[in-house]
Amino acid sequence: MIKAILIFNNHGKPRLSKFYEHYNEDTEQQIIRETFHLVSKRDENVCNFLEGGMLIGGSDYKLIYRHYATLYFVFCVDSSESELGILDLIQVKVFVETLDKCFENVCELDLIFHVDKVHNILAEMVMGGMVLETNMNEIITQVDAQNKMEKSEAGIAGAPARAVSAVKNMNLPEMPRNINIGDISIKVPNLPSFK
């Protein structure tokens, strides 16, 4: 079982924390700090597995992590998970590649500004500590469908609010006063003649 999924940056600032077992807020924060402490002092090119910190359950749990540019992706798992499997899960299969696809070259800022999206993507992949889906395309399809729904709802219900805020934000002096459409010549494509 996956006990927790943590993402933090090189300075230990959490960017995502998802616990699949209940801890109180203080403990969660301590676990993040402890994990950061354990993971960040390791060199590059060492192995991606290490024993968990005491708060998360000590040597019965493993931390499996990847370091990408400014971010650490850490999965805390028990012995029922395959280490390499989880590593793949972080790396590609799912998490990072999916985020990459969804955000177009994901970077730390994307995670910061779209907490909700990241949570949604994660939810399509892991549920209650178990892996739900490993097929990236399937996950992206689900996320896409959600976005569509969101857009369509924004289209109907969100429209008035949006319109108001759009008007408020309008910077009138920069608005073009005269709209010059110019020459519009509509070319009619050649249609195949009916026989």
């Binding site: 793949d88 500004f113 939810a123 892996v131 490993t134």
Partner: protein
């Protein structure tokens, strides 16, 4: 098009986050956050209804604040309200908030449950998934109560969408983990198992986690999953890399699912059906073969995926532990990985080999890699990998390579990371003791250990070396000589001083003949360390000095001088002062005879589990040290301790400190009996006073149950024996009544004083299960040397029971309090009445007892000879009737009997199937009462 278009972001949220990021100080950040919280609060409280977009924005802000480590104590109600919205965006935000911020004890659960209920019945797959996710995330008891019966229905319904099925499977798993009693699989079992055949790989992926968990808990009900899993695995393994499309990952077909299938199979013994087994072995071979093929891609993802499957396959092979051919191939494969350039693979290979080392088929094969592993220990850059290498060396150690491995571990210790030193020290100490052939090597090793890593040598380690030296005559002289030499080093660790002080105090006389280590030289050497030591060590040294006065009368004047000086006799530490005063007095007024008695050499220590092993177990958590290892060391520990049940400790070294147990009094790991013999009255009033209080009462020693299992199939014999005492048993049982005669024999020539025995029934045994009547008058308080006394015990079985009554024996031998607790071999099978029956009767009854909990089954390795006559004798000794010509296979044994208790009769049927080739047994019990099946199965599994 990217799935999340960046332009869509919420502007207010972005501004807020930028503000936080621009904060120069923590204070500024907190100020900004509080401002925002106040803002959100007022928006939520305000009477204007917020639109979906604003709600979403505020909830995202709260999430962000929460992530930064701030408590969020409002907004829950608003989130719950969002759940009942029929807009996806609002619903989704509501669920997101709840799954991150609502804990399972929240009072809002009832409201949340209502919303979930609506969504589950909405037939909108997106809403259903959201609801299922929420249940899986919160997973509280209330939720289990509300939905445990609903979710299996969704899971197996024909018209459920695949994505909903996936979520339902994992949701059910979560509920099963939190409230297994509420999730009743009964009618769904077979349909859930058949999800393994589902066309949609995602459904299989999710379902297999559920099935694995359920199988671990109810292996019998889910047995059918084995053949399904094997065929699914075989289809994946043999498929071309393109067959599975999206589930093919860097040319490896469905690696995640393959791993999970292999994990599921590890919940079960090898398949019995030949065809299934053949297919599985074929799969495993294919996986092993693929590892040897050239990689289809240079990408690390390809090799990771491939090796993830390979490692799971190897785990399964190790789990089965029955295919020597595969085991050796697995071992060779791991051997290749040991030298792989990927650190991850080296790590995993070392880890898997650790389990492989405990299989008898592959232990030797693992040993061939010793050089590589030692090399890993020396050269790996990564401490996690070095740690695994150390673990593996520990696991592969046996008599043949112990010296090499211990030497390597010792030399590694000098440079080892601080984080693993203590564990390394424990491991070295255990290996040195376990595989010691000559004890001078053992003593050398431990002293080296103290020299190299003295700070990490816990008390248990040096207690143990002293226990062993005391118990082994042949090593005492060598030990004295070696510690004497070690102490000559200008700087030596305090633990070395402790061991030195103790051993020279006991056995200094053995090396006193050499003028270079004459008594005075020894004393001066010890005393030169005295001032650098902590109080407990100094206390120990004072005790060593008084022992010197006894060993070497010529040192008396010098030592008395030391004791008399102000720094001792007026020491501000009470313990030191008391010792100085008492020892000084003792040495000046007691006659040499009295001194010799009081300060006699320590008697051997009782046989016990190594406290070091216990410490290692504690450190590594339960399960880290295998049971066999434990038993091994028990046996071996017994050899070197040579029995003896006296419980003296450091404190006993000093006759006078019984009144103030010193910190070092805990040499045995338990504070068992303390003081040395009741000194003759002439020894000084002080001592008499101390001992007239009967000494500290020893808490009961660890329960000794060595003898217990030997009596399951027999009624008479010797239950316990050590150097002092022998306890014999004769017992007879009729219906639900039994009578047990206990014979206590004093093996020494000295009388035992205040001899008392008590029988107690732990836990509920007392009131509900078993009544024991001690029918004799209490045994005589005095047992003369060489005499035997008898006690009769009447037993009545009221209902079935699992625990055994405890017999506690206390007595004084030469003044030292002995305390011994034994498990009395009263087991449920003693109340068996044999029942003869014909084959048809037997099978009819066998079928009647077909409920899963009525059956208990165990497959285990033969520990004793599999000789037919021996087996028959044991089965008859069990109390059942051994039925001939019942089982179609003449190799098998079947028995039948009825257990008589006061309240009811429990019918039991037993079947034992030996497999001489594999040296294994399968034992199946079916009883009309499930607790009886389980207990009998436990008891019997240890007998064959």
């Amino acid at each position: 098009m990217p799935a999340v278009s960046k332009g869509d972001g919420m502007r207010g949220l972005a501004v807020f986050i930028s503000d936080i990021r621009n904060c120069k100080s923590k204070e500024a950040e907190i100020k900004r956050i509080n401002k925002e919280l106040a803002n959100i609060r007022s928006k939520f409280k305000g009477d204007k209804a917020l639109d979906g977009y604003s709600k979403k924005k505020y909830v995202c802000k709260l999430l962000f604040i929460f992530l930064l480590g701030h408590d969020i104590d409002f907004g829950h109600m608003e989130a719950v309200n969002l759940l009942s919205s029929n807009k996806y965006t609002e619903k989704q935000i509501g669920y997101l908030f709840i799954s991150v911020l609502v804990n399972s004890n929240s009072e809002l659960i009832r409201l949340i449950n209502n919303a979930i209920k609506n969504d589950l019945s909405s037939r909108n797959p997106t809403f259903m998934c959201l609801a299922l996710h929420c249940i899986a995330n919160v997973g509280s008891r209330e939720m289990a109560e509300a939905f445990a019966s609903e979710i299996p229905r969704i899971l197996v319904a024909g018209d459920t969408m695949d994505s909903v099925k996936q979520s339902a499977a994992l949701c059910l798993l979560r509920l099963y983990k939190t409230s297994p009693d509420l999730v009743l699989m009964g009618e769904w079992t077979s349909r859930v198992v058949h999800l393994l055949n589902d066309q949609h790989m995602g459904v299989v992926t999710a379902a297999i986690s559920l099935i694995t968990c359920l199988s671990q808990k109810n292996p019998d009900e889910f047995k059918t999953c084995v053949s399904l899993a094997v065929s699914r695995l075989s289809r994946i393994v043999s498929s071309a890399s393109t067959d599975l499309q999206d589930y093919t990952y860097y040319f490896v077909p469905a690696p995640w699912l393959s791993c999970k299938l292999l994990r599921l199979l590890q919940c079960y013994p090898p398949p019995e059906d030949g065809a299934v087994k053949g297919r599985l072995v074929e799969c495993l071979e294919t996986i092993l073969n693929k590892a040897q093929e050239p990689p289809k891609s240079k990408k690390v993802q390809h090799s990771n995926a491939k090796n993830a499957i390979l490692f799971e396959a190897i785990s399964l092979i190790i789990h089965y532990d029955s295919e020597p051919n595969l085991l050796v191939r697995a071992c060779n494969q791991l051997g290749q990985f040991l030298q792989h350039r990927e650190t991850n693979l080296r790590y995993l290979a070392l880890e898997s080999m650790c389990t492989l080392a405990s299989s008898e088929f592959s232990h030797e094969a693992v040993k061939t890699h010793i050089e590589t592993v030692i090399n890993a220990l020396k050269t790996e850059r990564d401490v996690s990998v070095r740690q695994r290498a150390a673990d593996l060396l520990y696991a592969m150690c046996d008599r043949s390579n112990a010296k090499q491995i211990v030497a390597e571990m010792l030399s590694y210790l000098e440079t080892a990371d601080y984080s693993i030193r203590e564990e390394m020290v424990l491991k070295v100490a255990i290996l040195a003791e376990k595989y010691a052939v000559d004890y001078s090597w053992y003593v050398d090793t431990i002293l080296n250990l103290i020299r190299i890593a003295g700070d990490y040598v816990s008390e248990e380690v040096w207690y143990r070396v002293i226990q062993i030296v005391i118990n082994r005559d042949d090593v005492q002289g060598y030990a004295a000589k070696t510690v004497f030499e070690a102490l000559q080093a200008p700087a030596c660790h305090e633990n070395m001083v402790k061991v030195g002080g103790y051993i020279l105090g006991e056995f200094g006389n053995l090396i006193a003949g050499d003028p270079r280590s004459s008594p005075l030289v020894q004393f001066n050497l010890l005393h030169s360390k005295f001032h650098l030591c902590s109080v407990p060590t100094r206390a120990l040294l004072l005790s060593a000095y008084i022992k010197f006065i006894n060993l070497f009368p010529e040192t008396k004047a010098t030592i008395q001088e030391v004791l008399r000086c102000d720094s001792q006799i007026r020491n501000s530490d009470v313990e030191l002062q008391q010792r100085a005063v008492e020892y000084l007095k003792l040495s000046s007024i007691a006659s040499t005879d009295v001194l010799a008695t009081v300060l006699e050499e320590m008697p051997p220590f009782p046989e016990r589990e190594s406290s070091i092993l216990a410490k290692l177990k504690k450190k590594k958590g339960p399960g880290a040290v295998s049971v066999t290892e434990l038993e091994d060391s028990k046996r071996e520990g017994g050899e070197l301790n040579g029995g003896g049940d006296r419980g003296p400790d450091t404190a006993a070294m000093a006759a006078s400190n019984a009144s103030t147990p010193s910190p070092s009094a805990d040499l045995l790991g338990i504070r068992s009996a303390a003081p040395v013999g009741a000194a003759p009255a002439s020894a000084g009033s002080l001592l008499v006073d101390v001992f007239s209080e009967a000494g500290p009462i020893a808490p009961s020693a660890a329960v000794n149950d060595d003898g217990f299992l030997r009596f399951v199939c027999k009624n008479n014999g010797v239950l316990f024996e050590n150097q002092l005492l022998q306890i014999g048993i004769k017992s007879e049982y009729r219906q639900n009544l039994g009578r047990m005669y206990l014979f206590y024999g004093n093996k020494t020539s000295v009388q035992f004083a205040s001899f008392t025995t008590t029988v107690s029934c732990p836990g509920e045994l007392q009131s509900h299960i078993l009544s024991m009547h001690l029918c004799t008058k209490p045994v005589e308080p005095l047992v003369e040397g060489g005499a035997q006394i008898q006690q009769v015990l009447n037993i009545e079985c009221l209902t079935d029971f699992s625990d055994a009554p405890l017999l506690n024996i206390k007595f004084r031998y030469g003044g030292a309090l002995q305390n011994l607790t034994l498990k009395l071999p009263v087991t449920i099978n003693k109340f068996f009445q044999p029942t003869e029956m014909t084959s048809s009767d037997f099978f009819q009854r066998w079928k009647q007892l077909s409920q899963p909990q009525q059956e208990a089954q165990k497959i285990f390795k033969a520990n004793h000879s599999m000789d037919t006559e021996v087996l028959k004798a044991k089965l008859l000794g069990l109390g059942t009737a051994l039925l001939d010509n019942v089982d179609p296979n003449p190799e098998n044994y079947v028995c039948a009997g009825v257990i008589q208790t006061k309240g009811q009769q429990v019918g039991c049927l037993l079947r034992l199937e030996p497999n001489a080739q594999a040296q294994m047994y399968r034992l199946t019990l079916r009883c009309s009462k499930d607790s009886v099946s389980r207990r009998l199965c436990e008891l019997l599994a240890e007998q064959f």
